[in-house]
């Protein structure tokens, strides 16, 4: 069994607002970014370029170069890379088949729904060990 499978993801207001704003700015395209922190507490997040070539209205891609930079950044600040966020423009904040096919274990996948440009529900998901599905983690907002 892998450790760190908390069913709660703790997100600060700053982080939540960053994700909402990024989703709004990128609309109608998908945005994406990295989540950094310790254990299940996201202390910080930052935007990453969506490098998909399959149409940014429905896809996002963090390329290997940006991934390495995010991991390095986390390590240098004494944290770990907890996961990534992305937006679903005009779609519910639930993982798609495409998300499932491309998911990595352990990472928290935060999805923000952006309905007609307005940020809506935010959810967090973690891939099951056998890659068969996602399990939802509750997002807990915390003021710092």
């Amino acid at each position: 069994m892998v450790s760190g499978h908390e069913t709660v993801l703790i997100v600060s207001d700053d982080v939540a607002m960053h994700i909402q704003n990024h989703g709004r700015e990128a609309y109608p395209n998908e945005c994406c970014g990295a989540l950094i922190g310790i254990d299940n507490v996201v202390g910080k997040c930052f935007s990453l370029p969506n490098t998909t070539e399959e149409g940014p209205r429905r896809r996002f891609l963090v390329n290997p170069h940006d991934y390495r930079a995010a991991e390095r950044h986390a390590t240098e600040s004494g944290c770990t890379l907890i996961g990534f966020y992305h937006s679903h423009p005009d779609h519910p904040a639930r993982p798609s088949r495409y998300d499932l096919d491309h998911a990595w274990p352990v990472f928290a996948y935060v999805i923000i729904a952006v309905e007609k440009g307005q940020p809506g529900a935010m959810t967090s998901w973690r891939l099951r060990e056998d890659r068969s599905a996602f399990d939802e983690a509750q997002i807990e907002r915390r003021n710092e």
């Binding site: 892998v2 450790s3 760190g4 998908e30 994406c32 998909t52 070539e53 399959e54 149409g55 940014p56 209205r57 429905r58 896809r59 996002f60 891609l61 963090v62 390329n63 290997p64 991934y67 390495r68 991991e71 986390a74 770990t80 890379l81 990534f84 992305h86 679903h88 423009p89 005009d90 779609h91 519910p92 639930r94 993982p95 798609s96 088949r97 495409y98 998300d99 499932l100 491309h102 998911a103 990595w104 274990p105 352990v106 990472f107 996948y109 998901w125 060990e129 056998d130 890659r131 068969s132 599905a133 996602f134 939802e136």
Partner: protein, 481 residues
Amino acid sequence: MANEVLIPTPLRAYTGKQEIVEVEGNTVGELLQNLTATYSDLRNHLYNEEGRLRSFVNIYLNDDDIRYLQKENTPVAEGDTISIVPSVAGGIGSEVMTEPMTLSNEEVARYSRHLIMPEVGMEGQLKLKAASVLCIGAGGLGSPVAMYLAAAGVGRIGIVDFDVVDYSNLHRQVIHGTPDVGRPKLDSARDRLNALNPEVTVETHNVALSSENALQLLADYDIIVDGTDNFPTRYLVNDACVLLGKPNVYGSIFRFEGQASVFATKDGPCYRCLYPEPPPPGLVPSCAEGGVLGILPGVVGTIQATEAIKLVIGVGEPLINRFMIYDALRMRFREFKLRKDPECLVCSDQPTVTELIDYDQFCGITPESTTSESTDGVEATVEGLRAEIDRGSDVFILDVREPQEFQICRIPGSTLIPLSDLPRRLDELDGRDDMVVHCKSGVRSAKAVKLLHDAGFSRAKNLRGGILAWIDRVDPSLPKY
């Protein structure tokens, strides 16, 4: 000799939290095999069920992606470092998934001939089930496209159409049957697809595709199949596909000749790279005007369905950068190479078309005049013609259709001179002042009237609505075609 392998954050849970592990191997492939032999839980995350590296797993030898070296056969030397680097990807899918997708026993039986081929297999069939394809039009091309996609198990099939089934559709639009005449095409198409494969979801869109609704409609599907029969919609579909980054599986048919290609993919050209401008209106006749061999859309539509399925599964060589022409009379396929136009107005790096435009205007089509006053001088109505004939006037009725159309039905007393022959047979009209010119629906005869006016026959009038209007409103006993 052992080399260092750098493990990314999400996989450290499977290597006892180690960031770096030492593994032996002469090639990258061998080394990864040894790695997953030691840390067996890694295997499922690095390799798919077919034993290939997952697409979002990147392996670097020092600073080079092994895809650009010798892939898994890349030799490893002493001191080389191997890094496993994730691409993190995701997005909106055709369906929201929190439970694993599987095939039921019924589906396994249904798709068994797919499943036993390695190129499709369980992985490919699940991709088909997860895929969504939008067919623009439920006509000649849309019929085989939708039917074969449904049979193949494409999970979600959308159809856009707003027409009703007509007798003249049945010789080629095999998704509709004789009892469907008069029904909306969407209704009969849905019934047929549900009967063919109840496992797939059919979504019908009873709208005329327009610049206002196209992006929203197309955005919800993975692949678009263009089965339209007119230029404004063809350009609209192309531009919307480019803007949305969705493949446009193109097909078109006329008489005995068909065309097919795959446009608007990441690396390939779009329809505008091939045809930057539409032809002048009326130059290229439609199937309604020029006819079409009924079986032709069967061939072209199945090519489109084949390409859509290949794109979904990700096998073979798609018709990207290739333009196929099929000649049914000679029974020949020809192929041209296509290239992306670096100055394409819509798909180049500096596009000037960045949103949908007015495609009727772009194609030179102006809305039909609705006021009769403005065209009084050059137009006649079928009721007016009938009254003149009844009065015994010696009005000359000129039919500019083709001889084969004349054989189907004609207005009594009319004289046939096909439009293409008219310029050199004008002398046959000498002395004819009052003249009513007609064709099937009024398009060709409008051109004939212009030609006649230019030649001095100033009193020639176009019969509005052509012989179709005559049949509808004067003589319903005649056959309609």
